[in-house]
Structure formats: structure tokens, C-alpha cells
Amino acid sequence: MIELRNIHKSFNGKQILHGIDVVYEKGKTNLIIGASGSGKSVLTKCTVGLIDPDQGQVLFDGKDFTNMKLDDKKDIRKKIGMLFQGGALFDSLTVEENIKFPLRMHASMTEKEMQARVNFCLGRVDMSGINDRYPAEISGGMQKRVGIARAISLNPSYLFCDEPNSGLDPSTAILIDNLIKELTEEFQITTIVVTHDMNSVMEIGDHVIFIHEGHKHWEGTKDTILKTTNKELSDLVFASELMKKVRSLG
């Protein structure tokens, strides 16, 4: 479980996050939705400590992460897997070395065990057999999947995915969504997924928060979101013709 308390953040005098409170539960996929530039990525980075919040606290399973000593922070970080918005694979390393990287850093495994783990993770994201390719040699969607494989290589307790399926075709996108949900339930991970995609919300939205101009504007689930009366949220949810049709069908 991860708990955010009153997170504030501004950049160069411009306030991006205005006091966000939220609880992400274990074994659930927690979605963050919101318009572009609303502060979803900044909120995620504040949560994992890549950006220090100006005010507020982040608790990982009750432990105050924000004010922790660096060594203790590192122990928590070892349990975090993160997929970045752009994939962020190390482009000087092959796919295999990318996935081995966290293992080399933190696990005491033999080469053979690491190899087995790499193949397991690649298999899990349906990307077996591309071990020796470099990130530049695979497509954006494949990079995302390898990014997920890398994020789960150390069996994380917390998984952060920043737009895991942007730029993917609809069927691959659903595949990735379901993969994230499966992993979350199977390993009881606390999972946070940032997304724009209403399909993802409907597929895996156990818990959804809506960020609007740096405020948590709405909170609910995939079942309650279609009945929302919140103006800004309906603008986002029912932006497409498809979703308007869904609404009109009741």
C-alpha cells in the first residue's frame, strides 16, 4: 500500500500539484487519469522520489519515504519497478542486458539464474527471442514491453507504469493492460498506472483518480466513472464519439 498525504509541488513559482491525498491499495491497479499537462507524471515522480515534493508525505507500507535516510530509501527503491513514459531503456545495452541490469545491481544471482530470469520476464510480455537486439532496433511498442519486463525483473512490490500503452495498437494495448493486471493480482503488487486511455480505464480500473489542474478532482472505479456528473471528468471521459455512444446506450 502506498499513501500520499497533501503533496504539493511547484516549478519556478508555478504550482503544479495542489495538495494531493490518495491511497493506492495492494493487489489493485490504481489508475491516474487526466488531461495532458495536468501533473500526472510529476505526481508519479514525487511518489517514487525522483522529484522531491515541496510539502507532504509519501508512505510506502506505512514507512515515511519522504523523510527517510538515503540508505533506507534505496531499500524501498529496490522494490519499485517503473516503466517510464518513453520506455527509458538504456540504449547502449541489449534488451537482455537491460533486463539484467537491476539483477546485477541488487540480486545475488549466478549468470545462469539471471539468464533464466530474463527469459522468463521476456516470455511474460510476449517478447521471447529478442534478447540480443538493441532498443533502437525494436519498435516503440516492443520497447514498452521490454520496459515492463525490466520493471518486473526484480519481482517488485510496487509497480509504476507511465502510459504503458500509448502508441500501441488497440489489441497490443489491451494485452499490456491485462498483463499489468495479471501481474498485480498474481504477485499482490501495488500498481499505479498513468493513462489517457479510456479503454484502459474500462479494462483495468480497479481504482481511478482524476487529476485536474493539479487537484485530485474525482476518485472512483471503472464502474462509477461512466455515471459521473463531474463536468471536467465527463469532458475527458466522453471526449470521443465512441464513448458518447457508450453513454447514450446507458
Binding site: L50, R77, M82, F84, A88, P102, M105
Partner: protein, 246 residues
């Protein structure tokens, strides 16, 4: 003001770079890789430039001596002194600042904007140490060898000019090269080279590391890294020379 801020940030980054080292096994691999790419990757350009500089210095000196009072060996002597004291150290460092410096700044800058540095941090890696230390160690180790190679090639270039153009006899050239040779000048050159190697790697690394934004900013950082490290090399050259030779 901006300069003071940059200097401050640079030292903070260096502090982070040399605190809490990364796992030795990971760093070792990177150092070998960097020696290969920073060092051996520059052999070609250094060889060509040094050979021609040695040749031109020899031609210039020979053609400018028209007094019978100046002995012929002066040509070899001048070629040796110019190569060892300044060319193979300072000029080569400036050239490497352009080649290696822009490389480092854009590599690290690109990693910054594509969130690869964030990815390292999330994995609990001190990204500054992991990325910068191997480059500094590799350059400080390999650049003195490059300098010695440059001296050798430059003086050989001068010798070939003596051999084939006849502006000076090879015997006189060799005599000049050996004349009044002090081992200290080699030490001086190698100390300078090591200091320059630190500058060439750490300053562009700083500029790459502080990139915010996109590809455009990476280009700007790369230019700044080259210009700043070149200026710092010139200043350091003056200071070291003052300290060691005077």
C-alpha cells in the same frame, strides 16, 4: 552570476559523483568500454594531426633560420620542445575536448531527456557515479598514453621531413631532438595531460547532466561543454605551467 551558479552545481555534481561508488563489477566493465571508445577511438585523429604538426613545425623552423650563427640542430630541438611541452598536451587536449567532450555531453544529455537517468536512480543506482566515474578514470588513464604517442608521431613526422625534403640533415635533426633532454619535461606533460583529461570528461558530463527539455537542449549542452572545457584547459595550462616550470 550564472558562472558562479554553474561552478557551484559542477562541484555538487562532482561531490555526488565521487560519493557512494557503484558496484565495482559494473564500473570495471564500463571503464574498459570507455578506454576503448574514448582512448583508442581517438588514435586515428591524434596520429594524423601529430604527424602533420611535427612535419610543419620542422619545415617552418628550418625555413625561418637563415643566420649561419644558429646551429642546424635547432630545428630538431624546436620540434621536440613544441611537441612535448605544448602540442601533444594542450593542443591535443583541445582537439579531444571537441571530439570526446561533445560526445560525452550529448550522450549523457540524451540519457537525461529520455529518462534513462531517472531509470538508473529508480533502480537505486547513483547515476552520476555510474555514468561519469568510468569516463573520468578511463580518460585520466589513457590520455597520457595518447600524449606519448602523439609526441612520438610528431617527432617522427619532423624526421621524415628532414629525410625527404632536405631542409635540414637527419643527423642534425636527431642531434637536436636529443639535445639537453630533461625527463622532467615529460613528467610535466603527463601531469598536464591527466589534469586536462579530467577537465575534458567532467565538464561536458556536467553540461549533459543538467540538460532539461529535448534534443535542442542536448545540442546546446554539447556546445557549452566543448567551449567551457576548452577555456578551462587554457586557464589550467597557464596555472600548471606557472606552478611547475617557473
Amino acid at each position: 552570476m550564472k558562472i558562479l551558479q554553474n561552478v557551484g552545481e559542477y562541484f555538487i555534481l562532482m561531490g555526488r559523483t565521487f560519493s557512494e561508488p557503484t558496484k565495482a563489477s559494473l564500473i570495471r566493465k564500463q571503464i574498459v568500454f570507455e578506454i576503448n571508445s574514448l582512448g583508442l577511438g581517438s588514435m586515428g585523429i591524434i596520429t594524423i594531426i601529430s604527424a602533420f604538426m611535427g612535419a610543419v613545425i620542422t619545415l617552418q623552423t628550418a625555413s625561418n633560420i637563415d643566420s649561419a650563427l644558429i646551429p642546424e640542430y635547432t630545428v630538431g630541438f624546436t620540434a621536440r620542445q613544441s611537441m612535448i611541452l605544448e602540442f601533444s598536451t594542450t593542443i591535443i587536449a583541445l582537439i579531444l575536448a571537441g571530439k570526446v567532450g561533445s560526445n560525452i555531453a550529448s550522450e549523457i544529455g540524451m540519457m537525461k531527456v529520455t529518462e534513462q537517468i531517472d531509470a538508473l536512480e529508480i533502480m537505486g543506482v547513483n547515476s552520476a557515479s555510474y555514468l561519469i566515474v568510468p569516463k573520468i578514470i578511463a580518460a585520466v588513464f589513457i590520455n597520457p598514453f595518447l600524449a606519448i604517442w602523439s609526441m612520438f608521431v610528431g617527432i617522427s613526422g619532423g624526421y621524415l621531413v628532414a629525410e625527404f625534403s632536405g631542409v635540414v640533415s637527419t643527423d642534425a635533426f636527431i642531434e637536436g631532438v636529443q639535445l639537453d633532454f630533461k625527463m622532467f619535461s615529460i613528467y610535466y606533460a603527463l601531469i598536464k595531460t591527466a589534469v586536462f583529461a579530467f577537465i575534458i570528461t567532467s565538464i561536458p558530463a556536467y553540461y549533459g547532466y543538467s540538460v532539461k527539455g529535448g534534443a535542442l537542449e542536448v545540442g546546446v549542452a554539447s556546445t557549452k561543454g566543448v567551449v567551457t572545457s576548452s577555456i578551462v584547459i587554457l586557464i589550467a595550462n597557464y596555472v600548471i605551467t606557472q606552478l611547475l616550470l617557473i
